[in-house]
């Protein structure tokens, strides 16, 4: 009987995290993927209100908890996420400190 094996997924790099964030934003905000770049502000450039950001956070938690058990973005951290870059950096640092 073969030994039980656990497949540990490769860690995500910043580029892969950006693609995840971008694709979720495309779905949530009904935007063209080309409209989403790292420098864009959620509120001023992408028209995301607070509820849309909560949608993003919940979707990120669902997507990433499959890779990293218990991945969670706290509400106090959510307040600091002003741009797409902020979100990518935050997720990247969270995944790399676990």
């Amino acid at each position: 009987m073969p030994a039980e094996t656990h497949v540990v997924p490769d860690p995500l790099d910043r580029g892969q995290i950006f693609v995840i964030v971008r694709d979720l934003l495309v779905d949530i905000l009904e935007l063209d993927p080309d409209a989403i770049t790292e420098g864009k502000s959620f509120k001023d450039d992408l028209g995301a209100d607070s509820l849309a950001l909560v949608e993003l956070v919940e979707a990120l938690e669902e997507e990433l908890s499959e890779r990293t058990v218990g991945f969670r973005i706290e509400d106090e951290d959510l307040a600091d996420l002003k741009t797409v870059r902020d979100a990518v950096d935050f997720v990247h640092s969270q995944l790399n400190t676990r």
Binding site: E30, L51, V54, E58
Partner: protein, 330 residues
Amino acid sequence: MLPIAVDAMGGDRAPDEILAGAHEAARLGLPVVLVGPAGLEGCGDLDLIEASEVIAMDDDPGKSVRTKKDSTLVRAAEAVRDGRASAMVSAGNTGATMASALLRMGRIKGVNRPAIATPIPVPGGSPTVLIDAGANAEVQAEWLVQFAQMGSVYSRHRFGVASPRVGLLSIGEEPGKGDTLRKEAFELLSRAGGINFIGNVEGRDVMTDDVDVVVTDGFTGNVVLKTLEGGMRTLVKALLAAFASKPEYKPHADVLLPALLPLYEAVDPDTTGGAVLLGVDGVCIISHGSSSARAIVNAIKVAADMVEHGIVDEIRAAIASAPVPTRSAE
């Protein structure tokens, strides 16, 4: 039909008035399941989906839905999502109801933002649908086009208006009237498919038979709604005070009251049964915070009606078949 999930703990008069309304709806033959704490008193023979937490009227919508995962609102939305209920009804925190529905049921594909559609009574005519009545304080012109599309579907199915006339709420009827948002929205609405856009309308038109769907941002819509409700309440009080001001008026008042009471009932918010959150992938009825048992019965009736008419699929089809026009080059 699957049961309609009723948030037993939502609203200023919960749970007593909510339970009374739920029992009355069940007595009328409507399928109801309550959502509330285990051992809820007054549950009677109604089924109960257990939920240990309550989102308060002043809780932050997004935060409370994330932190109170076992709340009545979240559990009600999950019941619809999971196919255990056909619709949800709540008189609780409006923002949290919207957040629960949005985060648990999800948005209909293609819909930018869900919006609240509220029927405004029109004496002697079909109610006018006011959309958005408070879900989105800030909007984009493209969203208003989708509000028009969703409001038209709702007007057709709820009130049987074959080709609902859509008006954009502004400060003058001429196309150039209003702020930048209104001007941009006017231009897009004029070219949008699937709606019967008749141009700008003003606040005074909302309670008339001149328009069927009034489109606006959620901030303005909520101000309009509360102004109309407050104005009607003040008018009724003033009329009653005038009738009672002199003894010799009483016999005349007794003659007039049978004619005035149906009118009062027609404009009473409890009669309309609450607002519908359009654009989410499920039926969600938002009753106002002070809902009585009668309001809850009517809200459950509206929910059943929307489920039977397949409003969600109708909106899905309307949004898919008529994409929002792109803005003209400057």
